[in-house]
Symmetry: C2
Subunit: 328 residues, 2 copies
């Protein structure tokens, strides 16, 4: 089995690559080759099979065809620019998030014209396809009314994924990821960054800023769960999905206050005291438009699993990123 990961240099791509190397097989088939593609050069990984890294922009002419010419059996499409950037740069957002994905789908369709080709395609969508006002928990049949260009682009690719699958060009499945916490690395400018930093920074003895109130509720899963979703999607028999190919992944609905109390249980009061509350009206407004709770019955019934407590999410971070060591 040959696997292509588009967007392999990102946090999820990197962890997914490691997960695939660890697993060695997908759906009972040995992984003989990994192609890791991204706009910045992906780190190669030690792997018994072949590993190829490709530095290219999926939205540039010819890139998708070149990637598909080697006919990978499984393609995981993670490449995207984030919500804030897609909002700031309208043209870039549509080019990367919509046209990139469409070029990939077209390359797959065209590759199959001369010689049958029917790869599995796992697409990472987002809860940003939903826009307020919401029901108390968003069900599997709630309609997509995005309030960002990013969410619009993801919702469009979901529709394309369904249609290309229905037409028999690709075996597609989409997973709407919750907000992934705790993200490793430094604080970034993403509006959602504080959900990670208010735990990550204190665990290393550093201060973190909380820009919203403690009663803000949101929808979470760990990086480990995200990789689990993608691996499970890659192995799932999609026939059961019919032509509704995108699933809202399960997750944990929790308030910032509950997140902070979990930090207190895991790392104590000293860690919690490093969180400095400093309201940021801009972030408060953005976050108010985000979905915060789902009834992800469909994904759960298909075997997708996420954490059920913030304590677990924090412990996973400590185990996977900090080698089990914290500052307290």
């Amino acid at each position: 089995m040959h696997i292509l990961i588009v967007g392999a240099a990102g946090m999820v791509g990197h962890k997914l690559t490691a997960g695939l190397v660890r697993a060695g097989r997908i759906g009972g088939k040995e992984i003989v080759k990994l192609t890791l593609a991204d706009v910045i050069k992906p780190e190669p990984v030690p792997h018994a099979g072949a590993v190829e890294t490709v530095t290219a922009d999926l939205s540039a002419p010819g890139t998708a065809q070149a990637l598909i010419a080697s006919r990978p059996d499984l393609i995981v499409h993670l490449a995207a620019i984030v919500s804030g950037e897609a909002e700031a740069d309208f043209e870039k957002g549509y080019r990367i998030n919509l046209d990139g994905a469409r070029l990939l789908l077209e390359a797959i369709r065209l590759e199959g014209i001369n010689q049958p080709y029917f790869p599995k395609l796992v697409f990472t969508s987002s809860i940003a396809v939903f826009g307020a006002p919401f029901p108390e928990a968003i069900g599997d049949e709630f309609f997509a009314t995005p309030l960002t260009s990013y969410g619009t682009q993801k919702a469009i690719v979901e529709l394309l994924l369904n249609d290309y699958s229905r037409r028999g060009f690709v075996d597609g499945i989409g997973i709407r990821l919750p907000t992934i916490v705790i993200r490793p690395g430094k604080p970034n400018l993403a509006a959602s960054g504080f959900f990670s930093s208010i735990v990550r920074e204190p665990l290393s003895g550093k201060e973190a800023v909380l820009p919203v109130s403690r009663d803000v509720r949101h929808w979470f899963a760990s990086p480990r769960a995200a990789v689990g979703f993608l691996l499970h999607a890659a192995e799932l028999d999609t026939q059961i999905l019919g032509w509704r190919r995108t699933l809202s992944a399960p997750g944990l609905s929790a308030t910032v206050g509950e997140e902070i109390e979990a930090l207190r249980r895991v790392a104590g009061d000293k860690a919690v005291r490093l969180i400095r509350e400093e309201a940021d009206e801009k972030i408060i407004k953005i976050v108010a438009g985000w979905p915060c709770n789902f009834e992800a019955h469909r994904a759960a019934s298909l075997g997708f699993r996420a954490e059920t407590s913030f304590d677990d999410i924090i412990r996973i971070h400590i185990a996977d990123e900090l080698g089990g060591r914290i500052a307290f």
Copy 2:
């Protein structure tokens, strides 16, 4: 006010043009110019103001920019290839129905970069954005899961219309039209053609074939109602819509049997005897996947109105197309 109609040569475009000429004004503003564009040359209409006809393909490079360069105040986008053709010719469907609309939106956005430009855009969407299984009546928040490429293309343009409106590039509104009956003209190959022909042909003393059973239910409005929706949309203050810019239009949910009984009431048993039942498995299967009933509360509350009986739909056809005369 300068109005551009894209897809002006079609049945709805032609009737809309006549309706605009009759009205003379939109939202209290005098119509001083009509630009009628289509891939086949639109018939010019007698009008006190200027009338320009343009024969061009919206999806061809430069067409959208050329149409928008004259900065129309109101644009009605009707151009599309129908469901059957979009299913038969995948590339053409995406080119005309998706890329054409996107090029129009882009031309509007780019026109506004140097000098502010914020036209109203009325887009005709379709109930084909919904795919079975359905609830008994499709509510205003049911999700778009199209089962045709045509429906996928319409659903994508709805998303683009929302985003371009939210970003302030255009003042967009979309209307999901019911199946329009009774279509004038000759029988065509559209799978939905029989809904019109089983009334239209008998009214002229000709035989018509009914390929499905009488208990098939569907969602209807007259051509006159369709023009009414578009004129009402053109005049509606869209602020009330927020960023959910597309509405399912009201319509009449009726079975084929109810349609036939309406024909009997309006034109008698002799007309009904001209309907020959001849099951067509292919059409039966296609029709089974179509939505047949809606709760179009949102559009109704905003003043959109459709017929409430099939008798009215038939009488409108007799008045508007047959000069009040039938064969019986």
